[in-house]
C-alpha cells in the first residue's frame, strides 16, 4: 500500500495515451459465447476507425454477465471504477437507466444526428421518461439453423417441421420462453403472451376470451409436439447449439450470435433460414437490440470519447463492415442496406428481422428487462410443466393468465 502514494505520480507519467473502458454485456443465457463476444476481430472495423480519429486512445474491452450486471455495476461505481461505455440489450439499458446505473444520452446536436440514423421503432424501444437509455448499434435475432447433410432445405411451416421429425430427423426446441417465442406468433398466441412477458398493455381489440383460447392452442401444440419421440426438449440455446454441432439434432431455433460458432464447427454444412410460420401466421422471432449506454463515472474527456465511439459505430461504412465481417449483426443505421445478395445467412437474418417488425408490434414498445427477468422463471415453469405433462394445457393457460397484467 505504500505504493499508493506514488499513484498520482504514475498518473501524471502516463503521457498523452488514454484508455476507454468498454463493458460488453452478453444477452441472458448467451454467456457461454463469451469468447465470441470478446473476439477482437469483431471490433476491428470500429477500433480501426476510432483509432484513426483518436490515435492516443486505447479501447479496453471487458465482458460481464447480464444476470448480475446491476450488482457488479453498483460495486464498481461505489469505487469510481465503472465503465465509460456499456454495450447492452435495449431492455437492460432501460432497467439500468431506471436504477441510475447508466446516464441518459445527452441532448446534444451530435447525439441527435446519430439518433436520427436509427429506425424510429428501435429508438422507441430504448426511450423512457428519463430519456434515451442508449444508442442502438445492431440487432441480434432468432433464426432456424439446420444441418444440410440431413435436411436439404429448412421447413417453412410448422407442419413441415413436424413432418421432418416424423420422418426420423431429430429437431430441437428450447423450454425457455425466449427460445420458444417464435412459436407464439406462428400459433397466434403472441398478442396474449407479450403483455405477460413485458408487462405492457394488451393490444387494442384483444379480449380475455380470445387471449385464453390463443394461449391454450399454443400450449396444446407444444404439448403434442413434445410427445413426438424425435423432438428433443433442450434447456437453452447452449444445449441446442451443441446438439446441432454434435449431430444429435438436425434442426434447431438459433440466435444469430451463435452463427459464428456454428460456422466454425460445421462449416459449409450449416444451413440458416427464417423460422417456420404456422396456422396463426408468421413466426415471431425474438430480436435483441444492442445499444451503447453511458457509464456514470467517466471524466468529461472520457465521456466525450465514449460518445465519439458510440456515434462512430453508426457510421455507414463501419456498420457495413461489421455486418459483412460478422454475418450476425444487423445494422442499426436504417440507411445501411443489408448486403443480402452476397450472403444467404444475411438474407435469412434480414428476413427474420422483417418478420419481427411485422409481427412484434408490442415488443417494440419500451419495456424494462427487470419485468422480463421477474416473470421469466414463472413463465418457464408453466411451459415446462405443460411440456412434461404435470399440467394440462388448460391449467397452463390459467396459470399464464394469472401472470398477465390487469386489463
Amino acid at each position: 500500500m505504500a505504493l499508493l502514494a506514488l499513484v498520482p505520480l504514475l498518473a501524471s507519467c502516463q503521457g498523452p495515451r488514454q484508455s476507454l473502458h468498454v463493458l460488453v454485456v452478453p444477452t441472458h443465457r448467451m454467456e457461454w459465447l463469451r469468447d465470441d463476444y470478446h473476439d477482437q476481430r469483431d471490433w476491428v472495423p470500429l477500433r480501426r476507425e476510432f483509432q484513426r480519429i483518436h490515435p492516443e486512445v486505447d479501447l479496453n474491452i471487458t465482458v460481464a454477465p447480464e444476470d448480475n450486471i446491476k450488482e457488479s455495476l453498483r460495486l464498481a461505481q461505489s469505487r469510481g471504477l465503472g465503465p465509460d461505455l456499456l454495450l447492452v440489450r435495449g431492455s437492460v439499458a432501460m432497467a439500468l437507466l431506471d436504477a441510475a446505473l447508466v446516464e441518459a444520452l445527452p441532448d446534444e446536436p451530435e447525439v441527435r444526428r446519430s439518433l436520427a440514423l436509427v429506425e424510429p421503432n428501435d429508438l422507441k424501444r430504448v426511450t423512457g421518461p428519463r430519456g434515451v437509455a442508449g444508442l442502438p448499434m445492431f440487432s441480434e435475432i432468432t433464426l432456424a439453423c439446420f444441418d444440410r447433410r440431413r435436411l436439404p432445405k429448412a421447413p417453412t411451416n410448422l407442419a413441415e417441421l413436424l413432418a421432418v421429425a416424423a420422418a426420423g430427423q431429430p429437431i430441437g426446441l428450447a423450454v425457455e420462453p425466449s427460445g420458444l417465442w417464435w412459436t407464439a406468433g406462428a400459433l397466434g398466441a403472441q398478442g396474449a403472451l407479450t403483455p405477460i412477458l413485458t408487462g405492457t398493455p394488451h393490444a387494442v381489440g384483444s379480449s380475455a376470451t380470445s387471449d385464453r383460447s390463443a394461449l391454450q392452442a399454443w400450449l396444446v401444440w407444444l404439448r403434442q409436439t413434445s410427445l413426438q419421440s424425435r423432438v428433443d426438449l433442450a434447456s437453452g440455446p447452449q444445449d441446442l447449439t451443441e446438439g446441432l454441432e454434435s449431430g444429435r439434432l438436425a434442426w434447431i431455433p438459433c440466435y444469430s450470435l451463435t452463427l459464428r460458432r456454428l460456422e466454425r464447427t460445421m462449416g459449409r454444412h450449416l444451413g440458416v433460414a427464417p423460422l417456420p410460420s404456422g396456422p396463426g401466421g408468421l413466426p415471431t422471432p425474438f430480436s435483441a437490440l444492442r445499444v451503447w449506454s453511458l457509464g456514470v463515472d467517466s471524466s468529461p474527456r472520457q465521456r466525450q470519447l465514449a460518445l465519439s465511439l458510440a456515434e462512430l459505430s453508426l457510421n455507414p461504412l463501419v456498420q457495413r463492415q461489421l455486418t459483412l465481417g460478422t454475418k450476425m449483426m444487423l445494422p442499426a443505421n436504417r440507411f445501411v442496406p443489408i448486403p443480402v445478395a452476397s450472403s444467404g445467412k444475411l438474407a435469412a437474418i434480414e428476413q427474420a428481422q422483417r418478420q419481427f417488425t411485422q409481427t412484434s408490434g408490442l415488443l417494440v414498445s419500451p419495456y424494462s428487462a427487470d419485468r422480463v427477468q421477474q416473470v421469466l422463471p414463472s413463465l418457464e415453469a408453466v411451459i415446462s410443466q405443460v411440456l412434461v405433462g404435470v399440467m394440462t394445457p388448460q391449467q397452463g393457460t390459467e396459470a399464464l393468465l394469472r401472470l398477465s397484467p390487469q386489463r
Partner: protein, 400 residues
C-alpha cells in the same frame, strides 16, 4: 507483454477520475503520515501509535476517511476495499502471532507463515485488485499459446502454478501429520515414519503434477513423445541428476538409508537427517556439520550402517599396557571397567583380547556394545579416562 501494458494503461486511466484519485490520495496520505510518525521519536500523547501494530491506526483512519467521504456524498468503495485488505492483513497477523506461534512447532513457523500464508494473502490481494480494476475472468482467458496440444490461458497457468507452489511448500506439514498418525496407529519406528513422510510428499506432488498437466490440457501422447526424445539428451546431459533422483526413491522404498539412520561416511559416524530428491543430508556429530551427499553414492558404494536391524554398535578400544603386567589381570580388569559405564550394555558383555606383542607393551582390545551409535566417540573417551584412573589406583603404569 503488450497486453499487460495495455491493461496497465487502462487501469491508469481510472486515475483521471476525481473520485478515484481522491480516495487513493487520502489513503496514501494517511499511510505516509503514519509511517512518518512511527519513524520519528515517540510522543507521549500519541503513544498508542507506537504500541499498536501500524495496521490498526491505518484501519481506523480508513474507516474515518470512508465515513467522511460518504457524509460528503462522495464515492468511498475504494477506501472500503483497501480497509478490507488492511483488516485481512491484521487478522492474518493475529492468527500468526496468537494461534500459529503457540500451536505450531518452531521449525514449522518459517514454512507455515513466510512461505505459505503470506504469499497466499498477497495472491488473494492481487486477485481482488485485478478484479476490481477490470475483469479477472477476461484476464484469465488471455491465451498464451498451445503447449503440448493444450490451449493455455493465463488463468489456467496461474491456477496451476499456485496449486503446485502450495503443494511444494505446504505439503511437509500435512505429510508430517499423517505420517505421525500412521506411526502411532501402526507403531512404526521413527525411521519408517520419516520414510513414509517423504514418500507421501513425493506421491502427492507427483499427483499434483499429473493434475496440472491434465488441467492445462496437455496431450499425453505428445508429452510422452517429447519425453522419449528428451531422454536421449538427458541421458548424456543431466544423467547425474536423474540418477540421484531415482537412487533417492529407491533408497526410500528399500529403506536402507532413511532419515534417522546412523551410518559411516568417510570414516565418521553420521546421522541421516533428510533424504532429498537429489542429495542426502548427513549430520556429523564431531564438528556439527551437515554433509550433502549425492544419493547415488549410497546406491553404488558399500555403506556401513549401524541401524540396519538394530541401533546397537560394537566398539573396539585398543590399549597398550606394559609387559610387566600379567595379561590375565589386564584381560579380567578391562571388562569390569567397561561394565561400570552406564552407556555400555550388559549383553553382549564387554570383553578384552590380547591382540599384539610389542617390544615394551602388549596391545589389548576392549570390545563393548552401546545402544546409541552416535555416542561411541564420547563413550570411548570416557572409558579411556576411567581406565587411566583405575590403573593409577592399582599402581599400573598408564596405558598408551
Amino acid at each position: 507483454m503488450p497486453l499487460f501494458l495495455s491493461e496497465l494503461q487502462g487501469w491508469l486511466a481510472f486515475l483521471q477520475r476525481s473520485p478515484v484519485l481522491l480516495q487513493l490520495l487520502l489513503v496514501g496520505g494517511l499511510l505516509l503520515a503514519l509511517l512518518r510518525l512511527r519513524h520519528g521519536r515517540p510522543r507521549p500523547r500519541w503513544r498508542l501509535l507506537w504500541t499498536l501494530p501500524l495496521v490498526v491506526p491505518l484501519l481506523v483512519g480508513e474507516a474515518l476517511i470512508g465515513l467522511g467521504l460518504v457524509g460528503l456524498g462522495q464515492r468511498a468503495g475504494l477506501v472500503l476495499l483497501l480497509g478490507e485488505l488492511s483488516l485481512a492483513w491484521w487478522l492474518l497477523r493475529l492468527v500468526e502471532n496468537q494461534v500459529l506461534a503457540r500451536w505450531l512447532p518452531r521449525q514449522w513457523h518459517e514454512l507455515g507463515i513466510n512461505r505459505l500464508l503470506r504469499p497466499l494473502y498477497w495472491i488473494a490481494v492481487l486477485t481482488i485488485l485485478l478484479d476490481a480494476l477490470g475483469s479477472l475472468q477476461d484476464l484469465a482467458a488471455v491465451p498464451l499459446g498451445v503447449w503440448f496440444g493444450g490451449a493455455i490461458s493465463l488463468g489456467n497457468l496461474a491456477s496451476v502454478l499456485v496449486v503446485l507452489y502450495v503443494l511444494l511448500v505446504g505439503l511437509p506439514l500435512p505429510a508430517a501429520g499423517l505420517s505421525l498418525l500412521v506411526q502411532r496407529s501402526l507403531d512404526l519406528s521413527e525411521g519408517s515414519r520419516r520414510a513414509l513422510e517423504q514418500i507421501l510428499r513425493y506421491l502427492i506432488f507427483t499427483l499434483g503434477v499429473i493434475w496440472a498437466m491434465a488441467r492445462l490440457g496437455f496431450n499425453q501422447t505428445g508429452v510422452l513423445a517429447i519425453a522419449g526424445g528428451l531422454s536421449v539428451g538427458l541421458g548424456f546431459g543431466i544423467k547425474e541428476v536423474f540418477s540421484n533422483i531415482i537412487s533417492g526413491l529407491w533408497l526410500l522404498i528399500e529403506g536402507s538409508v532413511r532419515p534417522g539412520e546412523v551410518l559411516m561416511h568417510q570414516g565418521e559416524v553420521c546421522e541421516v537427517r533428510r533424504l532429498g530428491p537429489r542429495a542426502t543430508t548427513l549430520w556429523r556429530g564431531s564438528d556439527n556439520a551437515e554433509l550433502m551427499v549425492p544419493n547415488q553414492t549410497f546406491f553404488v558404494t558399500a555403506t556401513t550402517t549401524y541401524t540396519g536391524t538394530d541401533r546397537m554398535r560394537r566398539c573396539s578400544l585398543p590399549i597398550g599396557v606394559v609387559r610387566s603386567q600379567s595379561p590375565e589381570t589386564i584381560l579380567a580388569l578391562l571388562p569390569t571397567i567397561a561394565a561400570t559405564h552406564p552407556a555400555v550394555v550388559a549383553v553382549p558383555a564387554p570383553m578384552a583380547r590380547l591382540v599384539e606383542f610389542g617390544n615394551e607393551r602388549y596391545v589389548y582390545n576392549l570390545e563393548f556394545s552401546i545402544n546409541d551409535p552416535l555416542t561411541a566417540e564420547g563413550v570411548m573417551a570416557e572409558l579411556r579416562l576411567a581406565i587411566c584412573q583405575r590403573f593409577q589406583q592399582l599402581g599400573i603404569d598408564p596405558p598408551s
